[in-house]
Structure formats: C-alpha cells, structure tokens
C-alpha cells in the first residue's frame, strides 16, 4: 500500500506564516501556563512520601482520609488510581528540614506509620508501593534533570553544526525548544504529574524530534546541491514532499507502540507515555514547519552548502 502514488507537490512553505503564528501561539500559551500554573512536580522532585495500597474490596476515599486524619495526617492527598480498590496517598515533606536530619536510629518513616494506621482499620490492605524522597534529593534530581537537558541540546547543536551548517543547527534547536516547551506546557495546563520518567520522556522526545528533523535536513541539503535553479523556498518544499510519507510512516509506527504502552503499560509509565504521545505529534509537526521555516527565515541559500559539496558529489558517484 502506498500513501501517495507519486511524490506529492504540497506547497508546505506557502503556509509557513500561518504555521509560525500557530506555533508562536502554542509556545506563548505554554509559557503562560508554565508561569501561571507551573508544573505539577511529582514526588521525585518535591520530596515527600507516597504510598500505594490495594484493598480486596472497593473502598471509600472519605474513610481512608478520616483514618489518615486520625493518624495525624489531615493534609494527606488521597485518590484512586486504576480501580476503586487502589488508593494512592501522598504526604508533602515537612516544611522544616528538622525531620530529615533525623538519624536512622529509631526513625519510623511516615509511610510505615500510615501503613500501620491503615492496617489497623482493615487488616487486608496490601502495600503495593511506598516511596520517600528527601527534600535535598528532590532538588538535586531537578537540577540534574535540567542540566541533562541543556547538555543534550548543546551536544546536539555541536553535532549538527559539524555535519550541516549553523543555520541548520539553529533550525533544529528551535524545533527542539518548540517541542519541549509545548510538551511541558501541556503538562502544566492539564496539571499532569511531572516525575523523573517524564523527564526521561522529554529527553527521548528531543532525540525523536531531532531524528525527524535530521531526515528532512538531509534531503534539503541534498536538494540544494542537485537543484541549482530552484529557489530556497521550493528546494525546501520539494524535500518536505519527498520525505512526507516517511515522516508519517515513522510517526505512525512509533505512535502505535506508545499507544500500546499508554493503554497496557500500567500506571507507573502512564505519565511517561502521555509525554511521548504529545512529543511525537508535536515533533512531527515541528520537523516540517518549525525547523524548515526557521532555516528559510535564517536565509539559507545554495552558497551555504558549497563547501561540503565535494564530499556529497563523491558519495553520489560511489559504486559498490
């Protein structure tokens, strides 16, 4: 089966002003939400205690809240995850750092106390997961995560400058920042949980979106060398059309597996799969519109790729 019998001739770049406006709207909307609402950081970053328990029968959250309140945790965040028999309890870290200064000796952590309180009410409660992250660890994880993102972007920038040219590198980076900001923006707008796995997903998105962008850029570079007469605008257009079915195909296969992960993978990688779903859609769009529009806006021309021409010409005449 073929999506397009012939190479298509859509004029993608004609709509680039419109796309630019759309992207800007999304990016600014994301920024607004990030500033206004912020991210709903998960336990990994905020520190605190998380407890997941399973009851043999469905359980009323009000009862659980009452039990916790009696045990001295009126501020505990209690909700169902999965089924009505599964309960997730979250308790924020103590405000003062006095609590985490406690030495191992005799320390009975909050989750242990909560678990004991719950099993007194209902002996059949089963502990599924229990986590405690100290406040300083949370801060560190956040800082390290942010650093990782910056390093990844930096390393990619250098690679693309070396392999292509600075206009392409900036085009790629614009697209990546666009994808990351919008993904974060959507997480912020819907207040999805942002934990370590989501951070990993964001970095995977950087990898994925870049993959897409590079394939398009590769074609643009090739076309600039082959199609001497065409304007930069149409060179880019032709490249986009040539790679269109590949772009869609890969997006679809990746979306298929991520959708499988989203619906079957269980709650621990739920947020992770949501991030990937968003990232793949946005990443596909950005490799067509943001990255390519950006290099045109940066006035890319045939001359930019003359230096590397020899290498390319050599490649074409290669017979194995």
């Amino acid at each position: 089966m073929q999506l397009f019998k012939k190479t298509t001739t859509f004029d993608f770049m004609a709509k680039r002003k419109l796309a630019m406006a759309f992207s800007l709207l999304l990016v600014f909307g994301s920024f607004y939400s990030l500033i206004d609402k912020g991210l709903s950081f998960g336990l990994d970053f905020t520190g605190g205690t998380l407890l997941e328990v399973n009851y043999p029968k469905s359980v009323d959250l009000e009862n659980v809240r009452a039990t916790l309140s009696d045990a001295g945790y009126p501020d505990a965040n209690v909700l169902h995850y999965g089924t009505a028999r599964d309960v997730q309890i979250r308790i924020a870290p103590p405000k003062k750092s006095s609590d985490d200064k406690k030495v191992v000796e005799g320390t009975e952590s909050i989750s242990d106390k909560v678990l004991i309180a719950l099993s007194k009410k209902d002996a059949d409660v089963e502990m599924r997961r229990q986590e405690f992250v100290g406040p300083q660890v949370g801060d560190e994880l956040r800082d390290d995560g942010g650093l990782a993102m910056i390093y990844a972007l930096g390393a990619i920038l250098i690679y693309v400058i070396l392999r292509f040219q600075w206009r392409f590198a900036f085009g790629a980076i614009f697209a990546l920042i666009h994808d990351v900001v919008i993904t974060l923006g959507i997480f912020s707008f819907f207040q999805f949980d942002f934990d370590l796995t989501v951070l990993a997903a964001v970095l995977a998105i950087i990898g994925y979106s870049l993959n897409d962008t590079i394939v398009v850029f590769d074609r643009i570079r090739e076309n600039f060398r082959k199609l001497r007469k065409e304007t930069p605008n149409s060179v880019v257009n032709i490249a986009l059309n040539q790679t269109l079915s590949r772009t869609l195909m890969t997006s679809v296969t990746t979306l298929l597996v991520v959708a499988a992960m989203f619906s079957l993978g269980g709650e621990m990688i739920h947020a992770f799969s949501i991030a990937l779903l968003i990232g793949i859609v946005v990443g596909t769009y950005s490799s067509v519109y943001v990255a390519s529009s950006a290099i045109l806006a940066l006035n890319v021309s045939h001359e930019d790729l003359i230096q590397v021409e020899k290498e390319g010409a050599d490649q074409d005449s290669h017979e194995l």
Partner: protein, 618 residues
C-alpha cells in the same frame, strides 16, 4: 554484480543472530522464586537437613517445586513468591543461627545454558519487588567529632611538654590556641605538628595575644570522610545478612552516599531497625593464668569470661575492660617497618591512651584481645504486629602480645597478610567511629506490583510489536515482511545484550525497548521510501534497491547518532530508573542499525541476487 553480499558479511550476520538467540534463550525459561540455605559454623548441608526442611514445609502446607543441593547450598524452588516469603520466615525461625537462609530468584533454564554463562536479564527492584534506600553519611558530625578529639589532644600535648597556653578552643572547623607570647607559640608548633599530622597551623596576632589556628588538612578531611563512608558500608555488609537476601546491593554513590537495595524484602521498618544496630569494641586482657578447658567444662573463674572468635575458637578473657570503641580515633592497615609484616595502626584519644598505658605498663609480654560487639534489634512481623528482640553478638577479632607500654599510637602486628590487616582495621573502625547516617530516599515495591509491572511491560512490548508488524506488512508487503524479520531479531539481540551485560532491567527500561521497536523500523522506512522513489523515476528494481540502501545510509546514521547523543546524556546524568531507560534505548539504537541495514539487506540480496527481477513487492 550489485545486490550481493560478500560471504563474510552473511556469515557474520548468521553468527550474530545465532549467538544472540542463544543468550536470549534463558529469558524464555524465566526464574523461580527460591530459598537458599547455607551452613554456617560447624553445621553441614546433608540429607538430615533436606528431610527436616521438607517435613517443615509440608507441615506448614507450603508447596515447593524441588529441593536440591548444589555446591553445598540447599536450594528450594517455589511456584510463587508468596510461598517463598512464608517459607523464608518459617525456615529462618526454625533453623536458627547454624544455617543462613536467603531468598533469591533462580533461573529455571537448563544446565547447558548455565554452563555457557547464559543467564536471564537482571530485573530491577520495580520488577521483582523489594526495598531501595539511599543513605547519606552525616559528614558534618564526623568532622566535628574529629575536631573535638584533636582539641583534647592539643591540650594534652601542650600540658605534657609543659608549654604554657592561655586557651584551647574549638571554633567550628578550627582549633584556636591562644598564647601570651610569640616564643611559646613557636615552641608549641613543633610537638603539635609532629604528633598530629592531620592538622595544619596558621599564626595570627591580634588583641595583644598570639594565636595559633589549627585546621584539618585537605588530605586529612578526605581521609576522614572516606573512612566514615567505608565504616558504614562495612557495617551495612555485616548486617544485611540478617534480612535473608542473597543478592543485596550495597554501593557507594558520590562522596557521602550509600545505596542499599534488598530485592524481595518488604518490611522497611524492620530493615531500618536492624540498620540502627550499634557496634562497639572492647579491649580486654587475656586470662592466661586459668585454663580455657576448665572454663569450658566447669565454671569460668571469677573475674573472667569465655569468648569465641569467628571460627568458634574459645578464649578466656578478663572481665575488666581496658578501653572501648569510643576511645579510638582512627585505625588503618599498613606495613610494619621493623618486621615488614602486615599491621594495623591504631590511634586513641586522651582518655583511651591514659587507660591503655596504665594497664599495659604492668602487663608487658602478656596477651590482649580485641572484642567486637554488635547489638542488633531483630524485627519480625507476627500477625501484623512488630516484635523486636535484641541479639547481641560478641566476637574476639584479634589477640596479640603486649610488647611495650601502649598509649596514643600503637600497632597490632603479626597478622598473616595485608588482607587480614585490612579486615581487622575495618572491623575496628566499624566499632569505633560514630558516623551517623540518615535515609534520604526510600522506595519499596510490593511483590504483586513487581509482578504486574513485568506482565504489563511484556504485554505492551508484544502488542506494540504486533501492531508495527501488521502495519509494515500491509504497507510494504514483501519488503515489510523482511523488515519484520529484522525487527524480531532486533528484539532478540536487545534481550541477549541486556542478559550478557547483566544490566538492570527496569520498567522504564522496558519502555525504552518499546520505543526502540517503534523507531527501529524507521531505518527500513527510510530505505524503502527511497527504493520506491527510485522505482518511480523509472530505475530497474535491482538498481533501485542498490541506490535506496546507498542513499538512505547517511541519513540513517545522522538520525540515529543524534538520538544516541540524547540517550548517552540521559545515561550520564540520569539516576536509577532513568539509567535503565537510557541503556535499553542506546542498545536498541545500535542493534537496530545492524538489523535494519545489514540484516534486511542480506535477506533481500538472498532473493534478488543474480536474478532478473521485473517488479518488487514493495
């Protein structure tokens, strides 16, 4: 002729696929929850033990799969984790101290696979259930304690040498000594520097007084911190045996942190209580006047007590304690200059050295013993309630003859080898220094969630894969099928490499595999689209295949390298779960390049090489 692979390329591909399949194979058999019983001290693993274990399990109605002895270890396999956990509690209770009982996951693969070192992937805690602790050693306290000791030492040295000082004060990380005149200060410098190498001094004159500010050198600080961390790791090693885990992970992380992972363990409060055990040391004189045999047979003489060392060798020691762990400021192993034999160098603080010199002065030529004492609270869950019992172990770790009057610094020589010296120094430090640790991160995964994660993860890999396979077959027909074969081999290779490396497979790791499955076909999509383009332009099928592969190659390389960069950055900066994701993603990218480019080419060449092809099934 185009579209023909050299023989070596085909052989290489077949070889890689075969070896990959072989090492991925153990994962199909999976693992059984098991209990391992080893004999400690004088006991042996024999038929009597086997019968005893079998009877006890049958009496408690705990089904087991098999009971086998291998390398003096009794291995009992179970059908499910629940029975394993129950049996673990039961057997640990009934077998007591003579045997050590530990739970484990043991591969169910046949023996021939085990002989070629093929084992299943190592599952992370989120997949097998268990406890994860990240602990931090309180270095501020460690350094503060050292400075307190030094302050006392400085005072003592000055007094002993009759150097008059006005005050000796500890101010945060420094020790400030105040003198009336410069001359006395000059006089004081030498003995301090000579006797306490860890301190460096600076002079300062203000307010009509002459100050000497002492501060620990950078080297000394690092050494202290290292020692404190090592001490904690040693104590943890000694104690994790209590939890009955055969593969505990105790790792140093950074300068002041320790990771402790206990697969299969659930009760985090039990572990915390056991970790809070207190270790100490006692130095005692050996009672050489009375015979050990008499003491064993009858009653030990008044003022003496029987002790044992780790091998069970009895010793009769005086009840009076010369000094204990808190009097020791440091212990290190090294080489004795005179005898050129392994030795342990010990430093004591003011009180310790005073006591030590008093006793040793009168007992030169007589033996002295070091006893290691550990008081462990043992916590068990009985009917949902915690029952705490205290278990005190006392072991003689060294007996040596007093050669001279001992005081601030002394050494234990005559040790057989450097390793023995290292172990002794470690034990002495474990009983001596107080280096408090606190838990800064804790994660517990229940066994049912672990099992759920495995089945959900596996299911999403399979479903994701089936979807992609169907899609590719519809879209690219014959070529799609070839890509699907490559994709399957890719999965086999990822599993094989993970098994070979014994890298920890986590749930995000499985996510990495799923993502790779989706992205791996990308290389084939690129190639096939190129081939279609070539065909559209009117090139012959043979030439189109050739050109398609050629032209797509650099694009594939560029695209994959950038993704690899992101994966490597993740690996370097990520922790725990994220690392698992980065590992599988990186491995997946590399293997997919191999299978999607070389693998598919080899298969396609097989069909088209040397033939006249009119149309392609693409």
């Amino acid at each position: 002729m185009i579209n023909k692979y050299a023989l070596w390329k085909n052989v290489l591909i077949i070889l890689v696929v075969l070896v990959g399949a072989l090492y991925a194979l153990p994962n199909i058999y999976g693992s059984d929850p098991a209990i391992q019983i080893t004999a400690s001290r004088s006991a042996v693993v024999d038929q009597t033990l086997i019968d005893r274990v079998k009877t006890e399990l049958t009496n408690s109605k705990l089904d087991y799969d098999s009971v086998k002895v291998a390398d003096d270890i009794l291995v009992i396999r179970f059908k499910n984790v629940e029975n394993q956990l129950k049996a673990n509690d039961l057997l640990r209770e009934s077998l007591g101290d003579t045997y050590s009982v530990a739970q484990n996951l043991i591969t169910a693969s046949p023996e021939w696979l085990q002989t070629i070192n093929a084992s299943p992937m190592y599952l992370g805690l989120d997949l097998r259930g268990g406890l994860h602790f990240l602990m931090e050693v309180d270095m501020d306290t460690v350094i503060n304690q050292a400075n307190e000791t030094f302050t006392g030492d400085v005072r003592r040295i000055l007094r002993k040498d009759k150097i008059r000082y006005l005050t000796v004060k500890q101010i945060k990380d420094t020790i400030e000594v105040k003198f009336k005149d410069n001359e006395t200060r000059e006089k004081a410098l030498l003995p301090i520097r000579k006797q306490i190498e860890e301190l460096a001094g600076e002079t300062e004159d203000r307010d009509d007084a002459f100050y000497l500010t002492l501060r620990m050198t950078q080297v000394a600080l690092i050494e202290r911190k290292k020692a404190a961390l090592k001490k904690n790791i040693t104590t943890l090693r000694n104690r994790v045996n209590e939890f009955g885990v055969s593969e505990p992970v105790i790792q140093q992380q950074g300068d002041d942190r320790i990771v402790l992972q206990l697969p299969g363990v659930q009760c985090s409060s039990c572990v915390k209580k056991t970790l809070s055990a207190v270790a100490s040391l006692e130095f005692r004189l050996v009672d050489w006047k009375n015979s050990v045999e008499d003491a064993i047979n009858g009653r030990p003489p008044i003022g003496s007590r029987l002790y044992q060392d780790r091998q069970g060798q009895p010793y009769l020691l005086k009840k009076r304690v010369i000094m204990n762990g808190e009097h020791i400021s440091s212990a290190a192993s090294g080489l004795d200059q005179e005898s050129a034999s392994a030795a342990v160098f010990i430093n004591t603080n003011g009180v310790g050295s005073k006591r030590l010199s008093n006793v040793t002065r009168k007992n030169i030529g007589k033996p002295m013993a070091v006893v290691f004492i550990e008081q462990k609270p043992v916590v068990r869950e009985v009917d949902g309630k915690e029952v705490v019992t205290y278990k005190k172990t006392e072991e003689v770790i060294n007996v040596a003859t007093i050669r001279d009057v001992l005081s601030r610094r002394f050494q234990i020589t005559g040790l057989d080898n450097p390793k023995e010296a290292q172990e002794l120094a470690l034990l002495i430090r474990a009983g001596a220094l107080v280096a408090p640790i606190r838990i800064i991160e804790e994660r517990t995964i229940g066994p049912s969630l672990g099992q759920d994660n495995i089945s959900k993860g596996t299911l999403s890999v399979i479903i994701g894969m089936v979807l992609v396979i169907v899609f590719m077959a519809i879209w690219y027909k014959g070529f799609g099928l070839v890509a699907n074969i490559a994709l399957s081999f890719n999965l086999v290779l990822i599993v094989a490499i993970l098994s070979l490396l014994q890298a920890t497979l986590t749930l995000p790791g499985i996510a990495g595999i799923v993502l790779t499955v989706g992205m791996a076909v990308d290389a084939n999509v690129l190639i096939f689209e190129r081939i279609r383009e070539e065909l559209r332009v009117g090139n012959s099928p043979q030439a189109s295949i050739h050109a398609g592969y050629e032209k797509a190659l650099s694009t594939i390389a560029d695209a994959n390298i950038t993704t690899l960069i992101a994966a490597i950055v993740l690996f370097v900066f990520g922790t725990g779960a994220i690392k698992g994701f980065a590992i599988t993603l990186s491995i997946g990218i590399l293997t997919s390049m191999f299978t999607a480019i070389m693998g598919t080419r080899a298969i396609i060449n097989l069909f088209v090489s040397g033939k006249t092809i009119k149309t392609l099934s693409i």
